[in-house]
C-alpha cells in the first residue's frame, strides 16, 4: 500500500491508513475520499532553490521535462556541478507520481540536491526514489520541501549501501496539509556510513512527518541522525526513527537525536525513536527532547537590546542551525540557511 499505488490505480483502498502502525500519525486513508484525476502537463514556475549549483533534471506534475542546462552547459550528470532534481507540482485538485531509480557507480562522489516545489492547490503528489550506492560510492542528498498548504504529498526513498558506501542526507521541510518524507536505508555491506538529518519548520495547520528506517545488516556500520523541529500555531510535526541492528551486525555505531521546539499551545509534536538491536557488540543511543524556547535566554538577549521577536527568531534559527551546519556542500548549506531564515523570520 502506498500513495503511489493509489494514484496509479485510482483505488483509495491502496492508501496507507492509521491501522498501519508506521502511518498512525499520517493517516491518508481517513483523509482522502477519492483519488483525484491525473495532473496534466504544466509550466515550470521560475528557478528552484538550488539554481546555479548544477544542471537540473526536472519533473513537472510527475512528467520528466527536459534536462535543464546550467550556465556552464552541464547537465545533471555533468562535471563539477551537483545533480539537481526538481520535483515541481503545479496543479489544481489533481494527482501525480514519479518513480526514479538512481545508481551510483563504485567510488563516485555525488551531491544530489532535491527540491519539492509546490504551486496551485489541493494536489496529491508521490515521489519514489531508489538510491543504489555501489561499493565505496558517496552521496550527499539535500532535500528542500516546499509544498502548498493544502497539498498531500509523500516522498519515499529507498537507499541501499554496498560495502564502504557513504550516505549523508539532510531533509528540510515546511510541511503541507499532510506530508510524509520517508527514507529507508539498508546496509547490507559492511563498513557503510550514514548521516541522516532533518528539520521541519511548521506553521498554521501544516503537518510534516519525517520517518527514517535504518537497517544494519553488515558489520562496522555507522548511523548518525539529528532531526530538529519547530512548530507553531496548530501545526503538527512527527518524527519516527527506527534503527535495526540485525544479528551479527557487530560493531555497529548508531546515534539518533530528535529535538523539537513547540512555540504555541496548540501545536503538536509526536516522536517515536526506536532502536531494535539483535546484535551484542554494538553502540546505540538516542535522545529526544521537546520543549519551548528558553525564556531566560530570551530575557538575556532583550537585556542586551534585542527586541523580543528578533531574539526569538535568532534563538530559533540557531536551534535549527545545528542541522544546517552539518550540510557538507557549501552552496546547498547557504541555500538551506536562506530557506530556514525566510521561514523563521516571522517568529
Amino acid at each position: 500500500m502506498s500513495l503511489a499505488t493509489a494514484i496509479l490505480t485510482g483505488d483509495v483502498a491502496e492508501l496507507p491508513s492509521k491501522r498501519d502502525e508506521d502511518w498512525r500519525w499520517t493517516d491518508l486513508r481517513g483523509l482522502i475520499r477519492q483519488i483525484p484525476p491525473p495532473s496534466a502537463a504544466a509550466k515550470l514556475m521560475g528557478p528552484g532553490p538550488f539554481a546555479g549549483l548544477g544542471g537540473a533534471l526536472l519533473f513537472v506534475n510527475g512528467g520528466a521535462e527536459f534536462p535543464d542546462m546550467d550556465e556552464g552547459g552541464n547537465t545533471a550528470n555533468g562535471p563539477g556541478g551537483a545533480m539537481v532534481l526538481r520535483f515541481v507540482s503545479n496543479a489544481e485538485g489533481t494527482s501525480h507520481a514519479v518513480n526514479l531509480p538512481l545508481v551510483f557507480s563504485p567510488g563516485t562522489r555525488t551531491v544530489v540536491l532535491e527540491s519539492y516545489e509546490g504551486f496551485g492547490s489541493d494536489y496529491l503528489a508521490s515521489i519514489e526514489l531508489e538510491f543504489d550506492l555501489e561499493e565505496g560510492a558517496e552521496v550527499e542528498r539535500i532535500v528542500l520541501a516546499d509544498d502548498v498548504a493544502d497539498a498531500v504529498t509523500v516522498s519515499q526513498a529507498n537507499v541501499i549501501l554496498a560495502h564502504g558506501a557513504k550516505f549523508n542526507q539532510t531533509v528540510l521541510t515546511s510541511g503541507a496539509k499532510r506530508q510524509r518524507i520517508e527514507t529507508r536505508v539498508t546496509h547490507p555491506g559492511h563498513g557503510a556510513k550514514v548521516r541522516m538529518d532533518g528539520a521541519y519548520l511548521l506553521s498554521d495547520k501544516r503537518h510534516a512527518d519525517i520517518t527514517t528506517v535504518v537497517v544494519h545488516d553488515g558489520v562496522d556500520g555507522t548511523t548518525e541522525q539529528l532531526t530538529k523541529g519547530v512548530v507553531r500555531d496548530q501545526a503538527r510535526g512527527i518524527f519516527q526513527g527506527r534503527i535495526v541492528v540485525s544479528e551479527g551486525a557487530d560493531r555497529t555505531d548508531a546515534r539518533m537525536g530528535h529535538h523539537a521546539l513547540i512555540l504555541s499551545e496548540r501545536a503538536e509534536v509526536d516522536a517515536k525513536p526506536e532502536l531494535l538491536i539483535y546484535a551484542d557488540d554494538v553502540q546505540c543511543a538516542h535522545g529526544n527532547t521537546i520543549g519551548a524556547l528558553d525564556e531566560a535566554a530570551i530575557f538575556y538577549a532583550r537585556q542586551r537590546g534585542i527586541p523580543d521577536a528578533q531574539a526569538r527568531a535568532m534563538l530559533t534559527e540557531a536551534f535549527v542551525g545545528e542541522v544546517i551546519d552539518r550540510i557538507g556542500h557549501e552552496g546547498a548549506r547557504d541555500a538551506a540557511r536562506a530557506w530556514a531564515a525566510k521561514r523563521l523570520g516571522g517568529y
Binding site: R302, Q303, R304, G305, A318
Partner: protein, 249 residues
C-alpha cells in the same frame, strides 16, 4: 542619573523590595552590599524588566525618564546594562554575532546608523585585547562551554562594546580568580567617566579594593538600611551584616 524612590516589588506574590530608595548620580560608582536574600538580584532584575518581577509601588527613573514603563530592550537602548550574576549560554549564536546584533538593535532603536561588519570587528578586537581575551573565543557560541570566569569576562566585554550609560554589575567577582578579577576590574575602571554611572552588587569587600566605589549602601530586608563612603565596606567585612539584618527585621 539613576533615581529610585520607595520601590516595592514582588516575585511570585512575595514582596522582596520593600520601599527601596537610591540615587546614583552621573560619574559615580555605587556599591550595594547585603546578606543573601536581601533583594540584591531582585533589584537588578526589576531595573532591567525581567518577567515575573512585579513593581507594586514606587518609581525608577534614568535621567528623569521612567524606566519601569519600558520593555527590557528599550531600557537597554536607553543605556541600561546588566552584567549577569549567571550569564546565559546561547547555543548556536557566535558571541560576535550576538553582540553585533545587540549593538545594532540598540543603535536602530536610538535612530543611529548600524555599525558595519569591519567597524564592529575593529571595535571587538580592541576591547577583547583590553580584557586580555582570546579573540577566537568570540567566534564560539556565546558562553557555551565557557568557564565561570570566562563568562564574567565576556559580560564585561559586552559592556565595553555596548558602552552603556548605566551599568549594573551583579556579583561580577564571583567565579573570578585574582588575576581575572584584576583584569575585569581594570576593564570596568576604564569605563568610569563623567557621563556614566555604575551600581556594583557584591557580597564581598574584595571587589571594592579594585573598583573603588564613591558610595556604599547596605541592602537588607528589601531596603537600603545604611549608606556611607568606601570605609563602610571595610566595616561590613569586619563586623558582618548582623546588625543590619536585625535592624531590617
Amino acid at each position: 542619573m539613576l533615581s529610585i524612590q520607595n520601590l516595592h516589588a514582588t516575585v511570585g506574590g512575595t514582596e522582596i523590595l520593600k520601599g527601596l530608595s537610591l540615587e546614583v548620580p552621573a560619574g559615580e560608582v555605587h556599591a550595594i552590599m547585603g546578606p543573601n536574600g536581601a533583594g540584591k538580584s531582585t533589584l537588578s532584575y526589576v531595573l532591567t524588566g525581567r518577567d515575573g518581577y512585579e513593581v507594586t509601588k514606587g518609581s525608577a527613573t534614568l535621567d528623569g525618564e521612567d524606566l519601569l514603563a519600558l520593555e527590557p530592550n528599550e531600557r537597554a537602548a536607553k543605556g541600561v546594562f546588566l552584567s549577569f550574576q549567571y550569564p546565559l549560554e546561547i547555543p548556536g549564536v557566535p558571541a560576535l554575532t550576538f553582540v553585533r546584533t545587540a549593538l545594532n538593535a540598540q543603535r536602530k532603536a536610538r535612530g543611529e546608523p548600524e555599525v558595519t561588519a569591519p567597524e564592529f570587528l575593529k571595535l571587538a578586537r580592541e576591547k577583547a585585547a583590553g580584557l586580555k581575551m582570546d579573540f577566537d573565543m568570540l567566534k564560539r557560541p556565546l558562553n557555551v562551554g565557557f568557564s565561570g570566569g570566562e563568562k564574567k569576562r565576556m559580560e564585561i566585554l559586552q559592556m565595553a562594546i555596548l558602552s552603556p550609560r548605566f551599568a549594573i554589575l551583579d556579583e561580577t567577582d564571583s567565579g573570578l580568580d585574582i588575576d581575572a578579577l584584576r583584569i575585569v576590574s581594570e576593564g570596568v575602571n576604564a569605563m568610569r567617566g563623567p557621563d556614566r554611572a555604575m551600581l556594583v552588587i557584591t557580597h564581598y569587600q574584595r571587589l571594592l579594593e579594585y573598583i573603588r566605589p564613591d558610595r556604599v549602601h547596605v541592602l537588607a530586608g528589601g531596603r537600603i538600611v545604611a549608606s556611607g563612603g568606601p570605609e563602610l565596606a571595610l566595616e561590613l567585612e569586619r563586623e558582618g551584616y548582623d546588625k543590619y539584618a536585625r535592624a531590617a527585621a
